[in-house]
């Protein structure tokens, strides 16, 4: 049985924790709004880019001469995985969800006997993966210094990937990130970016209007594809940051509520033991008086 003093101390400590989580929730909510806005603003660019590429790739008739970024190297030996996580913790299941998804994929690949290379973006992912997959991690990038997500950071990652692809260091490239659905749910996603997946090929056949190309089609495509990699990564980073804030907001909201419950419980316990102490004292006085 803790003493009254101990209980009082615990209550104050839980209360101050509650204040912190509440403040964090507010900050996350403000940041979430901004991140969401950014994600929405960034959408037209990647959509347009995708459309143009779909239109172009529909016109590619000869897969032999098509750029390798589009059709792949023809081998499937080495898989490169880009795992995008956050730099900060206290955001609920945000990071572990991505890691879980990524780990499943890693296991599948290793079972098939293919080799695995990992690039982690964001320090939390690196921390969680380095123990099990330390040997496979070839690069760890973190953008702690840049306050907002900007395109140049994404382009840095994109250029790194393209450089490695041109050195034939891998055949497949997949990115892992959290897609922002709403504040409560973020869905971990795996998106293959090299070679490019175009799932809705049927839809774009009627879009295939007779474009005029300047310079020629192949050159445009081979120029556009590297840009598209950076764009996709940028999109993933935007989605990720919105998800991170959303996830943190929910986590902190839960924490605040739990702290509230705990304070209630502790207060009841405190009052009970205070009452008990008073009763005990009373009994002592009465029995003292009786014995006289």
């Amino acid at each position: 049985m803790p003493s009254l003093d101990d209980l009082r101390k615990r209550i104050t400590s839980v209360k101050s924790t509650q204040k912190i989580t509440k403040a964090m929730k507010m900050v996350a909510a403000a940041k979430l709004r901004k991140a969401q806005e950014n994600a929405e603003k960034g959408r037209p660019y990647s959509e347009k880019m995708n459309n143009i590429i779909l239109n172009l790739s529909a016109g590619v008739s000869d897969p032999q001469s098509a750029p390798k970024l589009l059709v792949g190297t023809g081998k499937e030996d080495v898989h490169l995985c880009i795992v995008l996580t956050s730099d900060r913790g206290l955001c609920g299941g945000f990071n572990s969800n991505i890691i879980k998804k990524a780990k499943n994929y890693f296991e599948k690949i290793q079972k098939e006997g293919k080799s695995l290379k990992i690039i982690t973006v964001g320090s939390k992912g690196y921390d969680q993966l380095k123990r099990q997959y330390g040997n496979s991690i070839i690069e760890n990038i973190s953008f702690k210094e840049s306050k907002n997500i900007n395109y140049f950071d994404a382009a840095k990652v994109g250029n790194l990937i393209i450089e490695k692809f041109q050195n034939e260091e891998f055949d497949f490239c997949t990115i892992f990130f959290n897609k922002f659905k709403n504040v409560i749910s973020q869905i971990p996603q795996a998106q293959q970016i090299i070679p490019l997946e175009n799932g809705n090929k049927e839809k774009d056949e009627k879009l295939d209007s007779s474009y005029e190309f300047e310079p020629d089609e192949d050159e445009i495509l081979s120029n556009l594809l590297p840009k598209n990699i950076s764009t996709q990564i940028f999109k993933a980073m935007l989605e990720n940051s919105a998800s991170e804030q959303g996830s943190r907001m929910t986590a902190m909201d839960n924490a605040t509520r739990n702290a509230g419950d705990l304070v209630d419980k502790l207060t009841i316990q405190y009052n009970r033991s205070r009452q008990a102490a008073i009763t005990k004292e009373l009994i002592e006085i009465i029995s003292g008086a009786e014995s006289l």
């Binding site: 950014n38 603003k41 960034g42 037209p44 660019y45 990647s46 347009k48 880019m49 143009i52 239109n55 172009l56 900007n150 395109y151 994404a154 382009a155 209007s209 007779s210 474009y211 005029e212 190309f213 300047e214 310079p215 445009i220 120029n223 556009l224 840009k227 764009t231 940028f234």
Partner: protein, 131 residues
Amino acid sequence: MDQFNLEIISPERSFLTKKDTDEVVIPGIEGYMGILKDHIPLISFLKPGIIDVKSKNENINFYVDDGIVEFKDNTLSILTSNIFDLRDVNKSKLDKIIKDTEEVLKKENIKDQERYILNQKIEVLNSIKFN
């Protein structure tokens, strides 16, 4: 004059949308092109240069580094990662960009094509500076 739509999109945001453009002159990779209404569908690249947007009331000029242009259904879409309005640019900023570009040019391992683009960039920026 017949009007068409223009949208300039950067990765971060939608930079400009206009519904009443009469003519747009863009720095295509193989030379400047003027786009008017009912142009045939087009996809092209930009080199460093000046986009000149002409509409009834105003003329706006933008500087772009690179970009992709698509014209379809009387909508001209320009995707670019580096763009600014010539009206809100000052000399020191231009000087800085020129200096940075010259730094890059000094490196030895650049391809001829990149060298050409970079030279073009310096030329355009200088011409902006002296206007």
